[in-house]
Subunit: 427 residues, 2 copies
């Protein structure tokens, strides 16, 4: 447990460069290690998290005390707090990652050229990943596990409020690395709360190949703006459900209620409901009724206001808002074309769903909507790497480069071309 030390005795750029060099060295080694060693490290880390649960909880108590003194919101305190269940979830998460297929070395494609050259496209790790996150200490274990499985070294920069919790978790991760004989530089936590370390991290392109920010919109915007290193980001999830004129009422009610209310705080939760004017008379009132009875505030346009007197008037800002709360904006539109146009203008390219029995309308929606995930007759809450069968994810990318949608172990890799010949020269 000698890697995560304090920054005493050195300026931040020098100390961050030390972290960067250790990560770079570790990445070189990790790219070549056997799957079994990585899995062994993950399983041993899970064991160490369970074995050190008391230490982790004590560190978390210290963070919670300080957070309460600083007057953090109850939502922030909830994100920060660890308990036995959350510790077990972290340990189980690492074991789940150990059980995933190793992406490194997978032959993605292979073909033979007329001159006899055999060309393979082979998955390789990205190298060093920098993860910048906020108050949830479990990201320390989740992100480190995914990066390690994909053969990458990781530099973690947690929120200052979770400083002690994250450090205690990182110590358990180091026990895992040690037991498998992997370099401790594979997982490093930036050992200072000084915010200048983040600025430094974002310019260390000689050491870090990619930055993954996890947290609220302001963190992600700051990282995107300042980073000199490519960023895989999920900015926000202003997700839409469009109920078409040809939607079955029962299915529409179930999907809308689930998309909004199953969990309101996740990025795949619906924020805006669009209803085809052909279905307004029949579908609008029952769908709005379901939402309100489930405890959702409904902010609507004229038609929605007319459908139920518990609806409040939406303002222009509502169409561009990710509530992450039991609030939904509702608007009646003139058919699938108008729904697509509304989403193009107000959406965040994350996840949108259409409910319809009209196959042509569905295909048009699926084809024209420019979002990471588009669904037909299913809830937007399926926007999740686990639900996609990809195992754990580090987030959902709303970017179009490299990784779009759920970012799992495969998306944390690159590839190279391996060409096998028998003396070929180019004419």
């Amino acid at each position: 447990m000698s890697v995560v030390t304090s920054f005493e005795g050195g300026d931040i750029p020098t100390q961050m460069a030390r972290l960067g060099e250790a990560a770079r060295d570790a990445a070189g080694a990790l790219a070549m290690v056997a799957t079994e060693a990585k899995n062994q490290a993950l399983k041993a880390a899970a064991g160490a998290i369970r074995a050190n649960a008391a230490d982790i909880l004590a560190a978390n108590d210290a963070d919670m005390e300080a957070a309460k003194t600083r007057g953090l919101s109850s939502a922030m305190l909830d994100r920060l707090e660890l308990d036995d269940a959350r510790i077990e979830a972290m340990a189980k998460g690492l074991e789940d990652i150990a059980a995933l297929a190793d992406p490194v070395g997978q032959v993605m494609a292979e073909w033979t050229r007329p001159n006899g050259l055999v060309i393979s496209r082979v998955r390789v790790p990205l190298g060093v990943i920098g993860v910048i996150y906020e108050s949830r200490p479990n990201v320390t274990a989740d992100a480190a596990g995914l990066c390690l499985k994909a053969g990458n070294a990781v530099i973690l920069r947690g929120g200052s409020e979770s400083f002690h919790s994250s450090a205690a978790i990182a110590r358990a991760l180091h026990e895992g690395l040690k037991s498998a004989g992997l370099p401790e530089g594979s997982v490093q936590l930036v050992p200072t709360r000084d915010r200048a370390a983040v600025g430094e991290m974002l310019t260390m392109s000689q050491y870090i190949d990619i930055i993954v920010p996890r947290g609220g919109k302001s963190l992600i915007e700051r990282v995107a703006r300042e980073s000199r290193i490519p960023v895989i980001k999920h900015l926000e999830g202003i997700c839409h459900v469009y109920v078409d004129g040809a939607a079955k009422l029962g299915m529409a009610r179930e999907i809308v209620l689930n998309a909004k209310m199953r969990r309101t705080g996740i990025c795949g939760a619906a924020e805006t409901l669009l209803v085809d004017e052909r279905a307004a008379a029949s579908h609008l009132a029952p769908i709005i009724g379901d939402l309100i009875e489930a405890g959702c505030e409904v902010r609507g346009d004229e038609a929605a206001l007319a459908a139920d007197d518990r609806v409040v008037a939406a303002t222009a800002k509502d169409w561009d808002t990710e509530y992450l709360e039991p609030i939904i904006s509702v608007k009646v539109v003139n058919g699938v074309g108008a729904a697509i146009a509304h989403i193009a203008r107000h959406g965040s390219h994350h996840t949108e769903a259409i409910v319809t029995e009209d196959g042509a309308a569905a295909e048009r929606f699926l084809g024209e909507i420019d979002s990471a995930i588009v669904l037909h007759n299913a809830s937007t809450q399926f926007a999740d790497g686990g639900e996609f069968g990809m195992g754990a994810e580090i987030g959902i990318s709303t970017d179009k480069l490299h990784a779009r949608g759920p970012v799992g172990v495969e998306q944390l890799t690159s590839y190279k071309y391996v060409v096998r010949g028998s003396g070929q020269v180019r004419p």
Copy 2:
């Protein structure tokens, strides 16, 4: 031909934003057009380039006159000059792109979840691509053709010395777009030589999804440094051939000579030869002799100097130099491990080859070298999208994100997840 106009009557940010909006609109339309329309536009553009050859050559004459007056180097003048053969090559290039498979809409993977959801990963265009290049006017046609085939709009910023040539080519491309009914905003050339337009382009992240610089190292470094938009770049190709102790002499001679001398100005040309000390006595002198007799300057370490008295002494700088000329640096190393270490320190992650009959040494080299392309018993000059069977390419990426190696039409796409259900909600 109304899109490419001058910037008279507006400041650069305003005018560039106009280009950006037109590109964004065109990208929305292009994402949905049928393959046939794109192919028709490409073939008609090829025809227009041939039909307007006299205009293009006249525009090129004006550029050449100005370039001579400004005293440009003969290498620069050669890159700038067009002739009948180069015009025919541009037209043929567009026809070749028309003949490629359309990547857009390809289903990359499809699977069914236990709950019955059918998930497809489908290729979609990236959106708007900004291409920044130098003196070669043919990039105007090549880059526009590749971007268009992948369903992307493109904003082209050519070198100021090829301003008239590129504009004449762009006019022919617009004829092609028009004949297929595609928006002229699909291909736009920045209509000013003002360098401030490049700076503006690199910050237009609301309009441009990706920047592809093509040219010398200083251009690419400037773009990478200044861009607020993700960049797919090829920085340089310091490519190595390692002749192992177990290499057949005949094969090694052929591969080294071809890798260096077939064409010295391309990025896949070998710049450094590493020879295993076990093969030095037998292989070094004949390989060096071949190179020198073919007109190559050889800069060597002690062992190479001893092998042939026509060798000149290499300096430290030689190991980090991309010559792009008939010059090679030669060094004797202690086996495949030392070769890998030399490449890790001095290479540019582009293309490296090993020549050996030892399968274990070959697999170690192919596995451990962190380059876009690694070859066993074949020439580095195969580092080319066409030679890989990918059709035309816009360059060879030495990055690890999104696209690595040859960047063809597939690499100019993103993907989205299309999920088809029958009313599923998440438990």
